[in-house]
């Protein structure tokens, strides 16, 4: 159709290329596949309505964890413009150190008698640990490279990531560490007809809360203004009297603190941590940040939620409906395909990013 109309406008080079055709085919196939799979899944009645609702809640909760970590990615990317691969390890270090605090409190009995006080103490420990690690990595691996091409800090961040993983393994052993359970958070709430497991509810609330705090920090405070100035142009910010190094350290510290919060919540929900814990959530969080529009705080949140929901519902809804066996094995395939599709439809992510819009 498009080809015909292009031909009708007259002479000259073709306006319809292979690429456009391919992308349209992808779009049509995707929409068709999703509708087809969903139709069979829903009409097949394999899952009840309540189960679909549960899947939704699970997805949102998982997405909230991604979102919390993604906030740190987005902060660093927004201000410094490079991918901090070690951020997943920053998150892991919070969760890992937090485990020892939680374990100690559990042994003293405080964990059982004063669960919320204990959680608060552990939260502080997690945040401190993650912040210290994040700031330390910045000092050693990134600051000397402030003016290098952006691929260089990417490589040092990979190096830092390796180092942190194996340093934690060496220090604390390779075994899986189990967080003590919080009895007070057993059970579920009923929210508007959705069954929300309490720990998951807390994760969702915390993610939204942290996002709002971060948003206020960036938009409403002097520090936030400095961050935005540095993000815009480091040199000019410096000339305008902004302490660039200090601002960047603040960015890493805040991102680290967010990762620390995520670490504790991880301990609450999954009760497990080991030296490799940070890797996959790190990648997923980065995916979330891109999905939402990297550099965009609200985008990180939205991206995380969407990714979580897609991972949770996608395999059951689309793949199982299409007759794919062991659909949940392919949940990452669904997640990444969703990312590709979103970017094919909206090249700068769901919420977009400022620079790209100017360029478009």
């Amino acid at each position: 159709m498009t080809a015909a109309s292009a031909a009708a406008t007259g002479r000259g080079p073709s306006r319809f290329g292979f690429v456009k055709g391919f992308l349209w085919a992808v779009r049509i196939l995707a929409v068709f596949g999703i509708l087809w799979g969903s139709y069979f899944s829903i009409t097949g009645g394999r899952l009840s309505f309540d189960q679909w609702k549960d899947l939704m809640v699970f997805g949102v909760a998982q997405g909230s964890v991604y979102a919390l970590i993604a906030l740190g990615y987005t902060m660093v990317y927004g201000v410094l413009g490079f991918i901090n691969f070690a951020h997943g390890e920053v998150f892991m270090s919070g969760a890992m150190i937090g485990f020892f605090a939680a374990n100690y409190l559990n042994q003293t009995g405080l964990w059982a008698s004063q669960p919320f006080l204990s959680l608060f103490i552990v939260l502080l420990v997690c945040m401190t640990a993650s912040t210290l690690v994040a700031v330390g990595v910045e000092r050693v691996a990134y600051r000397p490279l402030r003016n290098a091409p952006r691929l260089i800090p990417l490589i040092t961040s990979i190096g830092a990531s390796f180092f942190l993983q194996y340093a934690f393994r060496g220090l604390f052993g390779a075994g899986v560490k189990s967080y003590p359970a919080v009895r007070a958070l057993d059970g579920a709430w009923n929210v508007l007809g959705f069954r929300v497991i309490k720990t998951q509810g807390i994760v969702i609330l915390a993610a939204v809360g942290m996002m709002v705090l971060l948003y206020l920090l960036v938009e409403r405070t002097k520090t936030g203004r400095a961050m935005r100035a540095v993000a815009e142009d480091q040199e000019i910010a410096r000339l305008m009297g902004v302490d660039v190094d200090r601002t960047i350290v603040t960015v890493f510290a805040v991102g680290g603190a967010m990762a620390g919060v995520a670490g504790l919540l991880w301990g609450l929900v999954f009760q497990q941590v080991f030296f490799f814990t940070g890797f996959l959530p790190g990648i997923k969080a980065f995916t979330s940040a891109v999905l939402g529009g990297i550099g965009n705080i609200v985008g990180a949140m939205v991206g995380g939620l969407v990714l979580g929901a897609v991972e949770s519902i996608g395999p059951s809804l689309v793949l199982a409906g299409l007759g794919v066996p062991a659909a949940h094995q392919l949940k990452d395939v669904v997640a990444f395909l969703a990312l590709v599709l979103v970017l094919v439809f909206r090249p700068t992510g769901i919420m977009g990013e400022r620079l790209a819009e100017e360029r478009a």
Binding site: T9, G10, G12, P13
Partner: protein
Amino acid sequence: MPLLETQGLTKVFGGLHAIDDLDLHIEEGEIVSVIGPNGAGKTTFFNLVSGMIQPDSGKILFEGIDLVGLAPHQILELGIARTFQNVRLFQNMTVLENAMVGQHARTRSGPIRAILRTPGFRAEEEAIRRKAEEALAFFGTRLIGYRLEQPAFVLSYANRRRLEIARAMATEPKLLLLDEPTAGMNPRETLELTELIARLRDEKGFTICLIEHDMRVVRGVSDRVICLDYGRKIAEGTYHEVATNERVIEAYLGTKAVEGV
């Protein structure tokens, strides 16, 4: 038939009409200057013609072919080359390589021929090199000799501007769009470039459209001057006609005074 013609060209950025229902034409062999205060939409006009952005409505006809919807490289193949206001060279490539890139659209050999180093490929490479050197030689000794192998970033500001023009020349265009070619040059260099622009038309036969703030340059080279303001054409004619046009003076005085008027 004019070489380039726009009909009802409109581009809106977030509610702001950068180009608003613009009709203009450029005849073959002309040197046309586009002037106007900052933000009048001059560079947007170049971006539209070169295909870097797409118009919201209207047509851009080049030798009767509508350019709307074409990729920039297709437009270049048709014969439109441009330079940039804030010189955009391939900084880390050599002077010669920069100019050789200009020949990209005029040559064909693909990866397989490049790997096999066929005689056709070698001949083509030789031709590319010759044409690039030819374009560079247009600026005397400034861009040749040892400079051929220098990376572009070591060049002086004026030489970068020259190299950018040479790169555009190497694409063998019919229409050359020069975006503030003399910005940042000293008076002597400006004068030299003014002469050069005239030579470009006379010797190479390019049709030239330039955006310029320096009115001495505009007066020196233009066959015709078009003045834009808020994306609309407010005046057109010879230099003197436009320079004395009330709306033009108003537009400029409303923003800033112009030297040389």
